[in-house]
Each structure stands twice: as structure tokens, then as C-alpha cells.
Symmetry: D2
């Protein structure tokens, strides 16, 4: 059974920091945020987890395989190298949104995101690596280059992708408790519970009706997000070659 | 009159590179993309321009004040330090979407985004710094911390922000040819043509009706994106203190 | 007994790459090199190892606790994100220079550093984490700020530190097979075999005679470089407070 | 006439910060230091200056072409993105060491490197870009790969390079007031006053006698460090092809 471990990463008291004593240069904030995400992606990713930038001041990671000591080290290392610190809450549940609910609660219980006194919360439960698996679905847009990138101006291409993403993220969350993240280009990665092929087809149809964008999806399953995610990528390549809309990775 | 200079930045042949010979680790791609954006944000930002991550494989920058030599140097420096190269198209127009249309065309005319032979396109027109100005609008969500971040799980907070952004970006583009970018947290920055207060109020009302999220906005104007953007941030602080929905920066 | 595991990291065919087809901008090379080192320092360091920049195109790491899979992942991740690739050789020996000798041999046997066909060598032996320990000595200069930094111009301060380092590195290598690395400021970190207090005093006297710079040293011992190194730092703090020249960390 | 503008970059109160409240993880410090240098190398380098890591907590840059506003922006941007801040002193003189002497004085006059109250010093004089030129000498070791890298273990190769550098840096400073920086591999870059061919030959002979390492050197001259440095690289390539020991770049 799928048992994802979700970590909510929140920069402590970030909003006020960005404007005190004066609003800081926006491109410095953008640089800080994207490098912080890159560092977290490396830390989590080199331990076979997945991290997503989400809102940048709040990030979400799938951390199956990372224990409390790993989380503590990530928190300490960021605190040593950035002008800001991070709080971390972690929880486990078969349904991704329930796991994240538990993760966020650990952070919220310690105080507000804008509480000056709340710093480096570290709370949660961590799943032993050998228990349960993770499922990852990797969506992309059919022929995005031919239909959008090579034809429209970049913003109009972006609007299509963004509307499709907004539609998909809401549907997947409401119908399945899945968490879907735009990861650049025309790609969306979803942390999913066990879902049947027809449910993926319904999601694709929903986006086609709602946002007039055609998706396909590869689904992978494995002991870590990286294992599941690489399988999902291979399955998506199968869609591309076979012209199909949903492919599940072959179990090894 | 507002005369923004827009640059479209496109990674050459990126899609195929990410899966050849085998799909690459997703967290390495995320790291590469976000660091590339950070480097471009620093290069452009330290010359008082603004860069936005957009789709990461395609980025948009407001580059008033950067000439062709600056663009060439950015392209060379990225090519020296990354496993990928970038193409750049630049154009100028009072209406942001028109400027971007011209910028994208420079890149598209040289070949497809997935053309193996097309590499390091550098095309466009560059505005002399002293001619014309830029307008920037900085939106954020009223009490996002209290209403969402401190109450909902992080994904449900994110969905609200994302739906508001999807609604705002489309309205601003369709009604005004403005380009709106999510920049993290609950912030959206728009590159705008000359717009009246009522038009901003209408945009805010549109998002309230469409996505049930309440926004406010500060608007700045200046010779560079940084000048305009800092004024917009100050104007937004004025909204916060005065409880208003739209503030224009005082002309110095 | 001390059993350090040493890894030699070599950029493949780097020299020719820096000048082909034309010499590349020096500051781009400096940026590439120092960020590559930073990434390796994070990868190795977050697994409680130590990495040193050495010549930047060739780096040395103490990798007790990292197995072959870790080395392979580091190599793959760098290859995914940089325009260059790295080769890795690893070996274990009670005497650090002997371990490094074995590590370098793994790389050299596969071909020259400037062999175009030699790419991503991965060779060596890896010590099970529970076997043996590492010793780290952390040297610094007595009152470097008061004697040099606050009095001399920066280059003349740097010359003093550099001459002291050149003297210490040679003495420690010739007399003990220890590997000493300048790590910035007035700090030198040595990977050492078992050494007696008098041997450290002799090393300090040697540098005093040879380069007229006064050092002190803290020595730590532990299962990983980080454990040993943090203990060495605490021991060095003890020197500072007690005015002593050599301190060994208390065994817990 | 050569008129280099030198900037001394000093991290404010860095030593105490690294050990308070407890000694910080060494690999985090190494990451912080090398990324800070990389950012400064990009900022200065993309404006055609040169930056050197020197002791990392104190760096030296040749900043011809960068004015006070550029220095102020670099300082602000670092302060926005790092947990530490930097002080900057700048001065101009035909002899590099004299320029640096003036630069360091600006910083020292404001207080000690470990003065808690001294923060973000910005002092100095800036040369108008059109006045005078810069000379750069680029040294490397003859056949370092064949003699050292492919034959010796990495530390013994490094010792040779390091001893040669220690000898060269001292000679060039004492005889000519030149500032020589190891930049990785087997390369040393010197900021030099006007020097005759025989003086370069004497420097090379000095290192050969003193450290038994054979060098060659290319010398360039231009309005900016980058211009001079690229010419020096080309001249060094001429040495390589012609088997000569000193080459001056042809004046265009």
C-alpha cells in the first residue's frame, strides 16, 4: 500500500523579513528563494526524496527514507548558510493530502508563520524506509512545443499550461487527495494514492473540458519517490511512443 | 509613456535533453532550472531589470537598461557554466504582451525550441535607457497568513493562491495586455501598460468573484523595472497600513 | 586505529575544455569551480565527510561513511548539472597519504587527466562505516586578526598565512603522511594518522622557525570526519581560552 | 600607464560568527565561503573585473570599470542573501600593492575585522573607466599533467604547485609590488605593474631555483581586467605552441 511521508517546509517569519526595514530588492528575494529550493531539492533528492517549490516560502517534500536526523541536519545546514531559518513538520498517511495535513499541523501548532518567536520547529513522525511505497504520476502536455511554444508568444503558452495546471491540481486534490506540482516546461508531478486507470483518464478528460489542454500521464510505484518518479518518467515515454494517454510502469 | 523592453529566454532543445539517453533525476533537473533562474535573476536584477521563472525552460525578463552586449554576455556566461545553452529574443512596445510577442518571434524565426541545430539565438531591438519608462504592479493577498497559511494545510493554501493567480493572469492579459507572474508567497508582479485606478479595482473584483480571493495592489512607475518595482512595493505597504485596495506610488 | 577513506575527485579533461575553442572568461571558470566544490562539500558534508578544494580541478575528500552507491550518485548528479564530468577514486589506509595514493591510482590507471576518452571513472574500495575512526587536526594562527588582518594590507596578511601553510603542509606530509588543507581565514585542517602531542609541538615549532608564524592546534577523533572535526574545533577553542598550543578533544 | 583599481572585500566579524554559539559545521562554512566568492566573481566578472578568493573571509578584486554605485549594490545584494555582510575598501595606484594598501586602509580605519559594531564599510576612490589600463600576467606550469597529475598522488602534485605559488607570490610582491593569486589547476594570475620581459624571466628562474617547478607566462594589457586577462590567456597559448617562456599579447 502507498504510504507517502510528507514534509512541510516553511521559512520562519519570511513575509515581514522581506520588507524590514525597507522592501528588499525583488531579484535578491527571487535568487534567495530559488537557491534555497535548489539546496533542499539536492538534499532531499540525493536521498531519493522529491521536493517541490510550491510557494517558495512554503515548500512540500516527499521524504520517504529520510528520518528525523536527516531533517534536523537539513534545518541546521540551511540555518548556517542563509539569512533565514526553516521549520519542518512531517507526517505519514496513505492519502497524500492527509499526510500533508498532519505535517502542516506540526508547524502550525508551534505558532504562526509570522510569529517572531517561533523558529526552527522540527516535529513529526517518520516512516521506517522498509514500510510501504510511494506512487508518483508524471503528466505532460501533448505536443506542447508544436502547439504552443513554437507558435504563441511565451506568455500565451504559459497561460495554457498554467490553466491546465490550475484545473488538474484542483481535480486531483478534490477527487483523490493527490498533490500535484508544476515542475517546469509542460510537466506536472503528482503524489498520488492508489488510483485506477479510469481515474487518470477522468482527470485528463476533466482538464481537456475545463482548460482545453490535452494531457498524458505515466505512473510509477516504488519504495522511494525517486524510484517511483523514474518509473513514471519511463511510463510517460511509453505514452509518447505508443500514442497512449495513461501508462503504468511495468513492475520489475 | 510606458515602454517596457521584454526578453524571452529559452533553453535550447531542453525537453529532449532531459530524457536522453535516459530520463534524468528529477531533483537534478529542478536544481539546474532553479539555479539557472537565480543566475539570470542576479544578472538582470543587478542591472535593475526583472526576471521571472515562468516555465523555467522558458523565462521572461523586463530588461530596460540592458543592451545587446549585456544580453550577449549573459548568454556566453550561462553557456560557460551550464550543460545547456540559452536563446534570447528582445523587443520593445508600450503594451507588454506586444513586446513579448516581438521577443518570442525572434527566437521562433530561428527554429523550433526542439531543433537540435538551433543554438544561442540572439535577436532583437534594445531601447536606449533614457527613452520611456516601465510600470510595475505588485499584488498580494489580504491576510494570507491569517486566512490560509496558519489555518489550512500547505497544499490547500497553495490552491487558493494558485487559483487566484490563474484568474488574475488571464484577466490582466486579456483586458490589458499585461504580464503577471507569481513570485512566491502570496505575491504576483505584473508588467503593466498605463492603467487607471478603476481598472485595477476591476481586476481585483474579477479575482474575488472568480476565485474568492481578496487582493490589493501597489503600482509604481520608473525608468527601470527595479525603480518601478520598489515604488510598487512601497505603495503596497501603504495599502497595508491604510486598508486600501489600490495605491499608486507618489511621484518623487 | 585511524582508518581514513580518501576520495580523489578529478574533473575530466578540464584543462583543454577551459581553452577550447577559445579561452573562456576567467570569472566564469572561477564561478564554475567554486560552485562545483560547494556542491561536493554539501554532498559529502551532509553525510558527515569532509571535502577540500585543493586545486579545484582536482579535489580531495575524506569519505568515511560514504559507500560506492553514494559516490556513483554524486558523480551522476554533477554530470547532470555541470558542463563537465568528474572521475572518482577511493581507497582506505591508516596513513592518509597512502589512502590518497591508492585513490589517485584508481583514476590514473583509467587514463590521463587530459584523455578525451576517459570519462566518469568510478573505482576503489569503501570501508564499512563501523570499522575504525578518523583523526582531524584543526590549526589556526595565534591572533591573526590583531597581528595581520587589522595591520597589514590584505595581500601581505595573505602572504604570511600562505607561507605558513606551505611550510606546514610539507612538514606534515613528509614527517607523518598527513594531508593539510587551507580552508580559509587563518585555518588549516589536517587529516592525520595517530600522532603524539610532541609531534604536534614539533610541527608548530617547524612553522615558527620556517615561516615566522605562530600556530596552535586542536585534535579530534571520531567515527566520521565531521565528528572528528567538530571535536577538533572544540579542542581549538580550548587552546584559545587556556593559551595552550595543542589540545586533544576529551573522549566522550 | 597601468592604473589598477583594487577592492578589498572583508566579511564582517566572520571569525567569531563561525564559532558562536557553537562551532558550525565545517562543510557549511566551506559552502558559504565558496558560494559567496562565486557570487562576487559573477558580479565583478560580468562587469569585466576580476575577483580572487584569497583567504575567502578576505577577498581581493580588480575593479576597474566598477564605480561606487556598483560596489554599493554588490554589498546590498550580498547582505540580502547571506547570513553575513561585507565591507569594501577601494583605491587606485599604478603599483597594485599600493592600491591594495589604500583599499585595506579604508576598511581598517573603520574598525577591526572582529569589531561587532563595524558593518558594511564602503570607502574609497574609484577611477573613471577611461583613465589608464590594467596589466595581467597569467602563469602556468609546464606540462603539469604529464609531470605531476598523471604520476603523483593528488596531494604530492598539489604540494609542488603550492610551493611554486608560495615562491612566486612572494617574489612578485617583493620585487614588483604585484599581486599573484592561485586560481586552480596549475594557474596563477598576477595583477602587475609595467614589467619588462627580463623581469618575467627572472621570476620564472626564481621559482625554478626555489621550488624546482618550471613556469611560463602570458602577459596582457587592456582597459579592464577581463580584456587584459583574455589577452594574457592568448599569449600563454602562444607560449604553449611556440615553446617559449614569456609572451606579451600583441597590441590590437
Amino acid at each position: 500500500m502507498t504510504r507517502p511521508q510528507l514534509t512541510h517546509i516553511q521559512i520562519d517569519n519570511y513575509g515581514p523579513w522581506t520588507v524590514e526595514p525597507e522592501p528588499r530588492r525583488e531579484m535578491d528575494l527571487q535568487t534567495l528563494q530559488s537557491r534555497l529550493f535548489a539546496d533542499i531539492a539536492q538534499f532531499v533528492g540525493s536521498r531519493d526524496g522529491y521536493a517541490f517549490f510550491t510557494r517558495f516560502d512554503n515548500m512540500v517534500a516527499v521524504t520517504n527514507g529520510l528520518d528525523q536526523a536527516d531533517h534536523e541536519l537539513m534545518q541546521e545546514s540551511i540555518g548556517n548558510r542563509y539569512p533565514i531559518s526553516i521549520s519542518l513538520g512531517t507526517a505519514v498517511d496513505p492519502v497524500p493530502i492527509e499526510a500533508l495535513e498532519g505535517a502542516t499541523e506540526r508547524v502550525q501548532q508551534a505558532g504562526s508563520a509570522q510569529d517572531r518567536g517561533r523558529r526552527e520547529v522540527l516535529g513529526g513522525e517518520y516512516r521506517p524506509p522498509e514500510e510501504g511505497d510511494v506512487s508518483i504520476a508524471h503528466f505532460d502536455v501533448n505536443d506542447a512545443t508544436g502547439k504552443y511554444t513554437d507558435r504563441l508568444n511565451e506568455f500565451d503558452s504559459f497561460i495554457r499550461i498554467e490553466q491546465a495546471y490550475a484545473s488538474l491540481m484542483r481535480h486531483m486534490r478534490e477527487a483523490h487527495g493527490a498533490l500535484s506540482f508544476f515542475v517546469g516546461g509542460d510537466n506536472v508531478i503528482s503524489v498520488v494514492p492508489d488510483m485506477a486507470e479510469q481515474e487518470y483518464l477522468d482527470a485528463i478528460d476533466h482538464v481537456s473540458d475545463d482548460a482545453d489542454v490535452e494531457l498524458k500521464v505515466g505512473v510509477g510505484h516504488g519504495p522511494t519517490p525517486h524510484d517511483a518518479g523514474i518509473d513514471a518518467k519511463h511510463a510517460l515515454e511509453d505514452c509518447r511512443y505508443d500514442g497512449t494517454r495513461v501508462e503504468f510502469a511495468r513492475e520489475d
